[in-house]
């Protein structure tokens, strides 16, 4: 339902949908599966992103456990060499592209409009399209498992290993084309969120009053906007080589395989900041709330985030120190890599000083946030050792690298995401996750991840290479540095980690069955998303707030006593909500559901499937895409007033209409 009539609960709005193509009526369901599949509501899409990403997290996690089972003992027999190659390739691809990125997109979708005081995003249908393109792209990628074998060249798919000679199955084709589809999803998502943040902020919400989470998401979207097209080019070159006989990475024809590495890492290094910055944003929200203090040095956190965004473009070749770039390039990229540690260090200091002298409240969300600070720092420090090129040459392609990026990605990105789950769960689902189970969840994950990834430092420095499907007793070494012992520890750790994550899923089920509702403002929070009901109404805010401060919700609740400089509570969240209810906008125009985003997104894997099997299928997919594109272009994003009885067109409409396209 697209028009919300208030306050007239006795007179339901009667919807007579407009037709598209003169035949199809616009979807109008407010309940049932149709209300999800055709929705353009950023909150529903945020939840769908989260659920789909969680599914892929489990898929990627099972792949990781199989890898650890294989390596637990010498001469592992769980997987054969070929399957092992597919497993680590798809584990990384799934975790990066199908878990962390869409999970961050889910948080961004749900909370960015709420944090900037908007009723929706700038392009609601494009938003829905982005979700479906991600989901279909992810399914397409994994279809390869059942159609002759998944991609097996490692997630960075170096040439010439990615060519038809070394990777003869269709796995790499599914990989390249599937990532094109998820790339389209990321690109449209980036455009949508950038325009949302630039254009749809509530009155008074200047850029320097935006919550840090929104800021970090904005930086991430700019990184995606400029990084995705680079991997798009690389993937096109790869597909053209595999399917149409181009020679881009064919060394025999005189090609330069380093071209792939450059293109991949020009995308790939900004990508690692795409993965970590959303979690930095989440903990920057969580730490002040549970320290009962404002964020220490807000502008420094903002600008160091932006600095990471810029410098992140000048460090890509540190992934290629071992490829023979030459001393000048290596020296330059060493220096820039060390330089990017500075803004990251600034953030860590700001978080620590936020907690300094605060009244700390150790909720599960807070524990995960502190876990991020500690464990990300460990990963950051080993990262600095990679910046030292001579040392990196020893570490390249060993488990030391695996240890490093799991500390920054699991210890950083994933712990931040879990902090966000516990912090925002009552906002999204109206119920608090169980704190006792949460504590178990946290400690098992932290112990598990240290047991899994900690020993990998030792294994790597001892020379255990990445991506080897077996290790042998004869080369295991002795004493403290014995491979066998530390590989076993890592494998046991990975199962402890898995139990920790299982506890989270159990917590979700228990919480869903618990009838107890969360209080309106359970954490005494600071930013605008908490100035709504739990969960928020379809139109988010009864009145669009006018913002006067950073942390505006906090300043509506508390006022500073001029003499003592202490903050005293003047209003409760309930009072603020009641006041909003009283002054609610009478006539709120929300964007209407649409068939076209999901239809258009569905056409994409049909096209790519045809590129692998038969161009005829591609033609069908192309027709679907064109049909949906015209349907999309010809329908208005907001159904016209004439669709609704009881609506009062004209008067007052312009003033309160949500600003969307």
């Amino acid at each position: 339902m697209a028009i919300i009539e208030r306050p007239a609960p006795t007179l339901p709005t009667i919807v007579t949908p407009t037709t598209t193509y003169g035949v199809l009526k616009r979807p109008v369901s407010a309940t049932g599966w149709r209300s999800w599949v055709f929705t353009v509501d950023h909150k529903k899409l945020g939840i769908m992103y989260g659920a789909a990403a969680m599914f892929f997290f489990i898929v990627g996690g099972v792949e990781a456990l199989l890898i650890r089972l294989q390596l637990a003992a010498p001469n592992g027999k769980v997987l054969n060499a070929d399957l092992y190659n597919q497993m680590f390739t798809m584990h990384a691809t799934t975790m990066v592209f199908l878990f962390v990125m869409p999970m961050a997109a889910g948080f961004a979708n749900y909370f960015v409009p709420l944090q900037i005081g908007a009723r929706d995003v700038a392009f609601p249908r494009l938003n829905a399209f982005g979700f479906w393109a991600f989901l279909f792209g992810g399914i397409f990628l994994n279809l390869a498992w059942f159609l002759g074998g998944a991609a097996d060249g490692g997630w960075f798919m170096y040439a010439p290993n990615s060519g038809p000679v070394f990777s003869p199955t269709n796995g790499v084709d599914f990989w390249a084309l599937g990532l094109q589809i998820t790339g389209i999803a990321s690109l449209t998502g980036a455009i949508n969120l950038i325009i949302t943040v630039l254009n749809m902020r509530a009155p008074g919400m200047s850029l320097m009053r935006m919550p840090i989470f929104t800021w970090m998401i904005t930086v991430v979207q700019f990184l995606l906007l400029f990084a995705i097209p680079v991997i798009t080019v690389a993937l096109f070159l790869l597909s053209f080589q595999r399917n149409f006989g181009a020679q881009f990475f064919d060394v025999a024809a005189g090609a330069d395989p380093l071209l792939w590495q450059h293109l991949f890492w020009i995308f790939g290094h900004p990508e690692v900041y795409v993965l970590i910055l959303p979690s930095f944003g989440i903990v920057s929200e969580v730490l002040p709330v549970f320290s009962r203090k404002p964020l220490f040095g807000y502008p420094f956190v903002v600008f160091s985030g932006a600095a990471i965004g810029f410098v992140g473009w000048g460090v890509w070749a540190h992934h290629m120190f071992a490829s023979g770039l030459g001393p000048v390039s290596v020296a330059v990229f060493s220096l820039t890599t060390m330089a990017i540690a500075v803004p990251t260090g600034v953030k860590i200091i700001n978080w620590t000083l936020t907690m300094w002298g605060g009244k700390l409240w150790f909720t599960t969300a807070m524990k995960f946030a502190i876990g991020l600070i500690v464990l990300f720092t460990v990963g950051g420090l080993s990262g600095v050792t990679h910046a030292v090129a001579p040392s990196d040459t020893q570490q390249t392609d060993t488990y030391y690298i695996v240890a490093h990026f799991h500390y920054v990605l699991f210890g950083g990105a994933v712990l931040g995401i879990f902090s966000g789950f516990y912090y925002w769960w009552p906002k999204v689902f109206g119920k608090l996750l169980n704190e006792k189970l949460g504590s178990w969840n946290f400690w098992l994950m932290v112990i598990g991840l240290n047991l899994t990834f900690g020993p990998m430092h030792i294994l790597g420095l001892q020379g255990q290479p990445r991506r080897m499907y077996q290790w042998t007793e004869a080369r295991a070494g002795e004493g403290f540095f014995n491979f066998a012992f530390w590989n076993l520890v890592a494998s046991i750790g990975s199962f402890i980690l898995a139990v920790g994550i299982l506890l989270f899923l159990i917590n979700v089920v228990i919480t869903a069955r618990n009838p107890q509702k969360a209080p309106l403002d359970p954490w005494n929070a600071r930013s605008l998303e908490w100035m709504t009901t739990n969960p928020p109404k379809e139109h988010n805010f009864d009145v669009i707030p006018t913002v006067h401060h950073l942390d505006d919700f906090f300043h509506q609740k508390y006022e500073e006593d001029a003499a003592t400089h202490t903050m005293t509570q003047v209003r409760t969240a309930e009072e603020i909500m009641a006041e909003q209810e009283r002054n609610a906008d009478k006539h709120i125009h929300m964007p209407s559901p649409s068939y076209w985003p999901i239809v258009l997104a569905f056409g994409l894997p049909v096209i790519t499937m045809g590129l692998i099997y038969s161009l005829l299928i591609s033609v069908i997919g192309g027709v679907v895409v064109l049909f949906a594109a015209y349907g999309w272009a010809l329908e208005s994003s907001t159904a016209p007033d004439s669709d609704f009885e009881n609506s009062a067109p004209g008067s007052g409409l312009d003033k309160v209409a949500a600003n969307h396209d």
């Binding site: 392009f123 400029f226 053209f240 881009f248 005189g254 272009a633 409409l653 209409a657 396209d661």
Partner: protein, 195 residues
């Protein structure tokens, strides 16, 4: 995507669709940047096939480039007419723009055919692969532009365009000018500067 705000002021004062198109074009810069870099790396690697200087017909391509650049002029006239609410002239200039674009694409098809007959296939050499990929991507962009222009003419005639007409015309104009500017860079780097 093609309709606009209900007169509600955006924070920047620029409408969502226009700002969205700018963001998209920013992204496109990196797409063509990657393709152009690939071409520049590989343009001298001919592996026994034809060299660039042997097959390029500079006068011919200069003429088709001129045609494409003129289409930017007619696009400006279309946007100007749309702002004046002159539907007849908007349609006229949009059609002329599409025709000029189609002439350019036709020239490219002719050129590709001629090069192929002279022995430069897609898999002949690294030069061939990267040349056809770069100029082909550009040609696809022009073709998509032509489809959008012709669709716009059709929609305007049925006067069923959602949102403000001039806004939509201007947004497609931004795309069209971008594609033209990219061609100036490609023409200079690929055709004019010798290997």
């Amino acid at each position: 995507m093609t309709d606009v705000t209900h007169g509600h002021a955006s924070s920047t004062g620029i409408s969502n669709v226009k700002l969205g198109m700018w963001a998209f074009l920013g992204s496109e810069c990196l797409l063509f940047g990657g393709l152009i870099s690939t071409y520049m790396l590989y343009r001298g690697r001919v592996s026994g096939g034809p060299r660039p200087s042997q097959i390029f017909d500079i006068p011919f391509t200069s003429v088709s480039s001129f045609v494409l650049l003129m289409s930017s002029l007619t696009m400006v006239l279309a946007v100007s007419a749309a702002h004046k609410d002159d539907d007849r002239k908007t349609n006229l200039w949009l059609t002329v723009t599409a025709l000029l674009g189609a002439t350019f694409v036709g020239g490219q098809v002719y050129e590709f055919t001629a090069f192929y007959k002279e022995g430069l296939g897609f898999s002949t050499s690294l030069f061939g692969s990267s040349f056809y990929t770069l100029t082909g991507f550009h040609g696809v962009h022009v073709t998509v532009g032509i489809i959008m222009l012709m669709s716009l003419v059709g929609i305007l005639k049925r006067s069923s365009v959602p949102g403000k007409k001039a806004e939509v015309v201007e947004m497609i104009g931004l795309y069209w000018h971008f594609v033209d500017i990219v061609w100036i860079i490609i023409f200079t780097l690929v055709y004019l500067i010798p290997v």
